[in-house]
């Protein structure tokens, strides 16, 4: 699956993933109003508004980008109705030819991790039939439980040509509390990186592995070091834009081949119409601001 993602990155000339993390606050008034008038101020009304919002952004940007990353928490907060919108978003994005990275940060052990992997990347058996529950292309995974938590995901990736991104160094201020603790001469995130490289060998797909990792844009010096530790690992980079990461700081996340990293922007794209820079955009056509923000991000990432 990483090869498919790389092909799309090269085709679109954009190492960019748009984070579909819709807060209700981001959704323009007219979309909310329409959904609420049809379904009331209900969970279904909220979910419909979010799906319409996503669809408009995807329609305005899919020709420019290789991938999207819906953040499942933003849907899960609306319960079952929210998760229906999550699934509809996945399906719609795949129809538009986009690679879908489910930002689910799941992780457990043994048969439980397998169940998560099956639900998001695989197929579950029911009698003589098989069904894909959510069917993302990639899922993000938390490594705290060790190999027992990761290997079931790798098995499912290999059976279904899918991929994962394992959290190594996250973009938030307190990520260092545990991740930066130094053991045996190196920080925990580097211990995780060593394992990611090892796990990656179990699922190579061309020059890169289906086992990628997550390193926040806010820690570029760590990104540079980790790039060298995991040469065949694709890096998913959150924290660009709103969280403070800048294009020029991110060069070190890429390999000499110009590949090796994909940078996420969520709020900076999907809520672009709220920015000063796009105040000329009519809120009724908010997605035009998203399109312009993608183009600006693409320029910012030309090194």
């Amino acid at each position: 699956m990483i090869k498919q993602l790389i092909d799309k990155i090269v085709e679109k000339d954009a190492p960019i993933v748009v984070g579909l993390d819709p807060m209700l606050d981001y959704v323009p008034e007219h979309i909310l109003k329409e959904a609420f008038s049809e379904y009331g101020e209900t969970l279904k009304g909220a979910a419909e508004a979010i799906f319409t919002f996503n669809k408009r952004i995807v329609d305005a940007t899919y020709d420019l980008i290789p991938a999207v990353k819906p953040q499942v928490a933003m849907y899960e907060q609306f319960g079952i109705e929210g998760l229906i919108a999550y699934k509809k978003t996945i399906d719609y994005c795949k129809e538009k030819g986009l690679v879908v990275i489910g930002d689910v940060k799941r992780g457990d052990i043994g048969s439980t991790s397998k169940a998560y992997a099956v639900g998001h990347l695989g197929k579950v058996k029911v009698g003589a039939n098989e069904y894909a529950g959510f069917d993302e292309d990639f899922a993000t995974v938390n490594p705290y439980l060790g190999s027992d938590g990761i290997k079931p995901f790798i098995d499912i990736c290999n059976e279904n040509d899918k991929g994962i991104f394992v959290l190594v160094k996250t973009s938030n201020p307190s990520s260092g509390e545990f991740q930066d603790q130094v053991a045996d001469g190196k920080p925990i995130y580097e211990h995780v990186a060593d394992k990611v490289r090892e796990w990656g060998e179990m699922s190579m797909d061309g020059d890169y592995s289906n086992v990628g990792c997550v390193i926040g844009a806010t820690y570029p010096e760590m990104g540079e070091k980790l790039r060298a530790v995991m040469p065949n690992t694709y890096i998913l980079v959150p924290g660009y834009g709103a969280q403070g990461g800048k294009g020029k700081d991110l060069k070190a996340y890429f390999n000499a081949d110009g590949l090796g990293a994909i940078v996420n922007s969520s709020r900076g794209i999907i809520a672009a119409y709220k920015q000063e820079a796009y105040k000329d955009v009519d809120e009724l056509h908010f997605e035009e601001a998203s399109r312009r923000a993608v183009i600006a991000m693409k320029e910012d990432l030309k090194f």
Copy 2:
């Protein structure tokens, strides 16, 4: 919320939580057959079979136990239909007066962690209304991202009288890969335990905190040490029974007041009818084996 859980543990005289982690393999043939004949071999058919299975076990054990712990992965693997069964299970258990610990192992940062917390423990605003998405009483949470990931959960717990259990030392064989790495003279799990104690002070509820932790039954010597590090923290103990933990090994997880820990058993209770010990139970009445297994576990945990 921890006070409510403790009251029920004392009332039932059972520091026991039943893990509702239904694999389709555990569901007796006659239940599968009935569900499939009504809904076909579909995701809905599987979800209905699982809910019926849960309901029968709950009906047979609720008077003996304080709490249940559904493992969301086992439902999530069946997609939306599975999550509907998860929600129905939560609601049914609460009707029966049980405390529900959602074993969701969620964790992210900032507004994303808040969204998970809202979805599982809080209420989401939609226009002038508020809705609870899943409405468990407790959720399990992964600490790898540090305080930024945990504090939004604590805020929601304080607003809604709910609780969390933070992973400290998990029960699986590879849990040591990162958790046991020694930094600054102590293992990472102990660094996490220090933080759990600190976070716990933000949500005290009687003698114990609404911020509990998870320590696997398979590491009793670590359990003993961690008990001392976090005197006011309730410990959720997985890994009893099927994973190898025995009753007598678990005394050290409890405080002198006889409180401080709740031990989970999943397969050992819900699939008890498949054990040699209960082979006299007719599969049509499989839940009788679950009831007897709860009673046996209760005895095994008398120190």
